[in-house]
């Protein structure tokens, strides 16, 4: 233990190998936990989506696909910069780690800004669930599907369920992004101090795993919430 970076090896581990194994296994179990956490929501979404296909498609057409697509692109780009940060941390290239981390954080914040504008739009149009929720099925759709007035009323109610799920899923995802940005800022200190190297890079690697996971959730959210509905209507 008398070597140069003994401060980064915790005393209860016998070697850097053991510490790295433990730390990444812990992260994978944590991600398994996250899969189950989001899994509950995805299950609820899939069940309601199967039961109310057309209703959800109509509600979904009120989402902003260009903004969603922009955010998807931002997140994929951030996953690339994140992967580079991990790679550079193994190589102990201090400046490159810091640079890629900063890029990742900027992209993450960009995602949140776009999300803010999306949410603001929903608040303007009152498509936020609650007592002031308002949703109207467009007359063209009523004509196209020959909907009875009762059917239109149920459709408007189902739309509230859709938007409940939308806010719950994207909100929880955004919360994960905020936490991710926080962890990223916290990692800047050891990164700038040049602590990361071949033996000790598991904090960056684990942060990378977390970041990719959160991206991956969005990769599922975007088609499920934004795209499925739009297509169904255009084709109908």
């Amino acid at each position: 233990m008398a070597n140069g970076h003994s401060t980064t090896l915790h005393h209860h581990f016998e070697s850097y190998d053991q510490q790295r194994n433990a730390s990444s296994l812990g992260m994978w179990f944590f991600l398994a936990q996250e899969v189950m956490f989001f899994g509950g929501l995805f299950t609820a979404y899939m069940i309601y989506r199967t039961q109310n296909g057309l209703d959800f498609a109509v509600a979904s057409s009120h989402l902003n696909i260009p903004l969603g697509a922009l955010n998807t692109a931002i997140l994929i780009a951030s996953s690339f910069t994140m992967a580079m940060a991990v790679k550079k941390s193994v190589l102990a290239q201090r400046k490159a780690i810091v640079g890629y981390l900063i890029l990742t954080l900027i992209l993450g914040c960009g995602f949140l800004v776009v999300k803010y504008f999306e949410y603001a739009e929903k608040f303007e149009h009152n498509t936020v669930p609650g007592s002031s929720f308002e949703f109207h099925v467009e007359p063209e759709l009523i004509a196209q599907y020959d909907l009875s007035p009762e059917r239109v009323v149920t459709m408007e109610k189902r739309a509230e369920i859709f938007f409940s799920l939308y806010f719950m899923m994207t909100g929880l995802h955004a919360l994960h992004m905020v936490i991710g940005v926080g962890i990223g800022i916290w990692l800047m200190f050891p990164a700038m101090a040049g602590k990361f190297n071949m033996d000790y890079h598991n904090p960056v690697e684990n942060f990378g795993l977390y970041w990719h996971f959160v991206d991956l959730v969005w990769i599922f959210l975007f088609p499920l919430l934004y795209l499925l509905g739009g297509n169904a209507l255009a084709g109908g």
Binding site: H11, Q18, N21, F29, M36, G40, P129, S131, K157
Partner: protein
Amino acid sequence: MSAHAESYDPNVNYLNRDWSLKSWLLTLDHKRIAWLYLISVSVFFAIGGFFAMLIRMELLTPQGDLLSPDTYNRVFTQHGVVMIFLFLIPSIPAVLGNFLVPLMVGAVDVAFPRLNLLSWYIYTVAGILVILALITGGVDTGWTFYTPLSSTYANSQVMLVAIAVFVNGFASILTGLNFLVTIHTMRAKNLTWGKLPLFIWAMYATSLINVLGTPVVAITLLMAGAERVLGLGIFDPALGGDPILFQHLFWFYSHPAVYIMILPAFGVISELIAAFSRKKIFGYTFIAASSVGIAILGFIVWAHHMFTTGMSAYAATVFSALTMLIAVPTAVKVINWTATMYQGSVSWETPMLYAVGFLGLFLIGGLTGVMLATLGLDIHVHDTYFVVAHFHYVMVGGAIMGFLGGIHYWWPKMTGRLYNGSISKVSAILVFVGFNLTFFPQFLLGYMGMPRRYHAYPEEFQALNVFSTAGATVLGLGYILPAFYLTYSLFKGEKAPANPWGAMSIEWQTPSPPPLHNFVTPPVITEPYDYEHELIKEQIAELKKHVKPQEVPLG
């Protein structure tokens, strides 16, 4: 580890090296965190027990005279919430598991000591939230928080308690994650998977459920909570939402949660039976594999709680069959334990009394579980005292017997002290007798049709209810006694040798109580439960020099 051995002082151990409050509240030592948990779960056991006492007092007479219907709803809900989330779920894993997992795998600590301490603080926050809810009016939805009662109609402190359960979930997740990683990566050299104590296998299976199940109940309560507070409409039938979906998601966690409570007890019982039969455990591989099998099967049986919700008959049949399947790995355990005792040199020390009591009670709890898995019978006794008796036999007769047996077994290791053998045996017998007297009548009551969760009942049910309340008094006495004699032994008890029971797993190779870094010299790894091994013969010979041979009380 050799570095620690050089500075080893036999008079300094993990307890007496520093008594300051700060050294306890900021400790990263898994053994001290076990103590933090032991004290907190005991407090919540007392609170949950207080509510149980109120329930039994109310049910002494057919009239609802002691508590109003509304108060009674709150009392049984709080009994359930406190006992399940704040006592049973953390009890064995967070107390005995924390103390033993690193010791049994020959590690210095768990893999993530800081997360370990964090989990206790998270648990404490959840506990404070629940106490806050109790003071400000309590909660009346039943521990199951069914929607739309919880999300729309209940006007009690649903939110505070739901948040508490949500928060508490992360304490279990962190503990589970810590154990999984510790067992995977921190084992001593030569301690292969096939040599791990069965308690470790049980903790492994439990931790899997903790990590994979708990987040589902967390998200479910979050959805119900968002519905209540923010007006989202996920389970709201007025919008076309489905309250039954809530039940599916809730039981997806809450059935496996039964195994979070009982699997650790299985682990404890495996250790006790082997140690007090002085025999290699019968069917090691089968017992180990059945723990993991139960954890996996446990995830696909949840809808047996919902047979009366109008679910499809085909689905119900499948869930019924899958539920019965769980009886297989469970029976494997019971049969192997019995086979271990057969022709062993069984000694009736206090922990063994709990283990044998466990076998009897769990057998009844398990078999009535199979009865409840059959569709016809379940619909007949659904929501009656039959169900109440069944799950108390499993969770109180099983999990708490395991917890108390384990505490009595590892107490000398945790404290370095011995407790009074006769009083502890009396109390073990009181628990067994009192338990049966309390809950067996409830099987009869339920079969006769007495519904659960009512504060009043027809007069013909009174005699059995009086039995039940009388039994609860005996049971309560059996639970209170250990608090006294164990606390007494902590200060005045005789000093315990390293291995007071002559047991085989490696935590007995280190002094009692262990030093800060657990082992003075690297432990000798043997085949599991190898009671023919030279090492154990030496230790038993050593033991006979120090401890007076104890009398066999029941032989």
